[in-house]
């Protein structure tokens, strides 16, 4: 592997993403440079169409850039220049997602006919963890989000907030390097949304790295650093000093 650029957890250099839509080419990202350190609490903001979803997909190794260099914990995910093209294949990307990234989605994305415990356990299945260890770790993850007594419930038997907690437990269970949350409160009422956000705050204080993608300012403000995306470029990269900074 190539040497890490700036010792960051995540290093983006000139990340560009172009979608080929037949006749037109859509430039979703136009040369993004970004470094994220461990234990940062980051919000990515921007209006729809700004490219923030594309940015999140590339960070989450769900997608690869058309151009640019991406390193995750010193591991080269992709490096595309005029001279050379390196991209991890699908299975390598799946491996990174499995070991290093915990996803939290707006629509929770739990398996419907499966109990909370089984949902949380799922990433460990793909990691090849033994059944006994899986159950212990999944149960521990449910305890972290305060749902230890709901492990045998199915998603349909849980409230929206509880479902999102299950999803967060599932994201935590592999002890990932980052937790990537895409509009995590978008489908929740404001009270429940606040509860979920304070859970993220706690997780960050426990040492997790959290990246939130949102268009809601009051959600974004929980983070310590807000990256504003506009027209496929970083428009503003601001440090939040107020509020949460008081705790540090």
């Amino acid at each position: 592997m190539a040497t890490p650029g700036q010792n960051g957890l995540i290093n983006f250099q000139g990340i560009t993403k172009v979608y080929d839509m037949g006749k037109e080419q859509v430039h979703a990202l136009r040369g993004v440079d970004l470094t994220i350190q461990a234990n940062e609490y980051i919000s990515i903001m921007g209006p729809s169409g700004s490219g923030k979803s594309t940015l999140m997909n590339i960070i989450g190794c769900l997608d690869t850039p058309t151009r640019g260099r991406y390193e995750f914990e010193g591991e080269l995910v992709s490096d595309v220049t005029d001279e050379q093209t390196f991209k991890m294949d699908d299975d390598q990307l799946a491996g990174i997602r499995n070991r290093k990234i915990g996803f939290v989605f707006q629509t929770f994305n739990l398996l419907a006919r499966t109990t909370a415990l089984r949902n949380v356990e799922l990433p460990l299945v793909y990691a090849g963890v033994s059944r006994r260890d899986r159950l212990v770790r999944a149960q521990a993850a449910l305890e972290m989000v305060g749902l230890e007594d709901r492990s045998t419930h199915r998603p349909s038997e849980l409230s929206g907030g509880q479902r999102q907690r299950v999803a967060i437990a599932r994201a935590l269970v592999t002890h990932p390097s980052i937790i990537l949350a895409d509009e995590p409160t978008g489908n929740l009422d404001s009270t429940t949304g606040r509860e979920i956000m304070s859970l993220f705050d706690d997780l960050q204080e426990q040492g997790n790295t959290i990246i939130l993608v949102t268009h809601e300012p009051h959600v974004a403000e929980h983070a310590h650093r807000i990256i504003h995306i506009l027209d496929g470029q970083i428009d503003r990269d601001e440090q939040v000093v107020k509020g949460k900074a008081d705790f540090q």
């Binding site: 769900l62 299975d91 799946a94 499995n98 994305n109 398996l111 006919r113």
Partner: protein, 404 residues
Amino acid sequence: MIEVLRIAGAALWAHKFRALLTTLGIAIGIFTVGVVMAIIEGLNASFAEQISSMGSDVLYVDKRGWFQGRDAWVLSRQRRNIGLDAGEYILQRAQYVSHVSPRIYQGGRLKYKENSLERVAVLGAAADMAVIAGVELVDGRFLSKLDSQRKKAVVVIGAAIDENLFGGEDPLGKRLSINGRKFLVIGILEKQGQMMGRNLDNMIYIPAETLLKMFGRRWRNITIAVKASSPDLINEARDEVEGIMRRYRQIRPGQPNDFAINQQSALQELYDNATRMLWMVAIGIGSIALIVGGVGVMNIMLVTVTERTVEIGIRKSLGARRRTILWQFLVESMAVSALGVVVGFVMASGVAVFVQRYTTLAARVPPTWIALGIGVVVVVGLIFGLWPATKAARLDPIEALRYE
């Protein structure tokens, strides 16, 4: 792997009725093949039993071959008859032959007091027939050389004759009439059962000479039954008997035989041909049904993959590799096929049990079913599941997650 099976099981359970319908084609295919296999297996068992009673070491010298075309049969009818002296001629000269007996078949009407039996098989034979046919006596004795020489009116009766004609009386020493001629009962045969739909016990043996004298108004053709001195020497015996018969019939070198040497294996061959046909029909129908069923499986798997696009997206985002997703759906399609196999076998077993219980046909549930079933599951599930599973494995996680 266990996890994959569990997922497949849960997915099927969620759509029980759909899975059952999907699997009907496969079930019908398996059912067809299964029933035919059961019947063939049953036939095989009874055939083997019956054919072994004919003796694999016995040759039947006849002017006609057993299984030949119609023209050859007509032609062979014009051949000279084989006479009783041929047996003695063979026995004196052959080295690989231990027993020889004539065998003449005749239908007969038996009477004893008020009782009578129609259409009883009357076989003209000699003392050696006891060994050749492997008969056992429950009482009395078999035909002797003296009976033949003196053309005695003596009879050895089958178990069914004992039962139906004498009805409880001890037949030994009694006189019964065959087509109006009186015969003395000297022996009673052990019960033998059925062969090729014929009751082997509904028959009697009398000396061939007596049969010819009393009922042979015309100069009759006879068959000579020849037993090889050991089953291993059947081919040597056959060659030897052929040579002796050519001399007996005075056939010049280069001329074709005007007689045939039949043996059990010819029967086996005929039987094999018949069952092979049955097999081919079953496999034909079975494979068409399986292909139809397989297309059904493929169709339902494509629907499943589409329905569960989001699930696939979730699994992929959590780190499921292509291979993992591929196997998940392959196992599921194999499970659907397996369900069909189980349903088909259960139905076929039902028919087999029914046939066994309510008809004289034997039907067995053969162990080869299991092998066949597993083969079908793997092949149908894999072939017809491959495309949908590949489709699922190749889904882009972002688009899959976004799928409505």
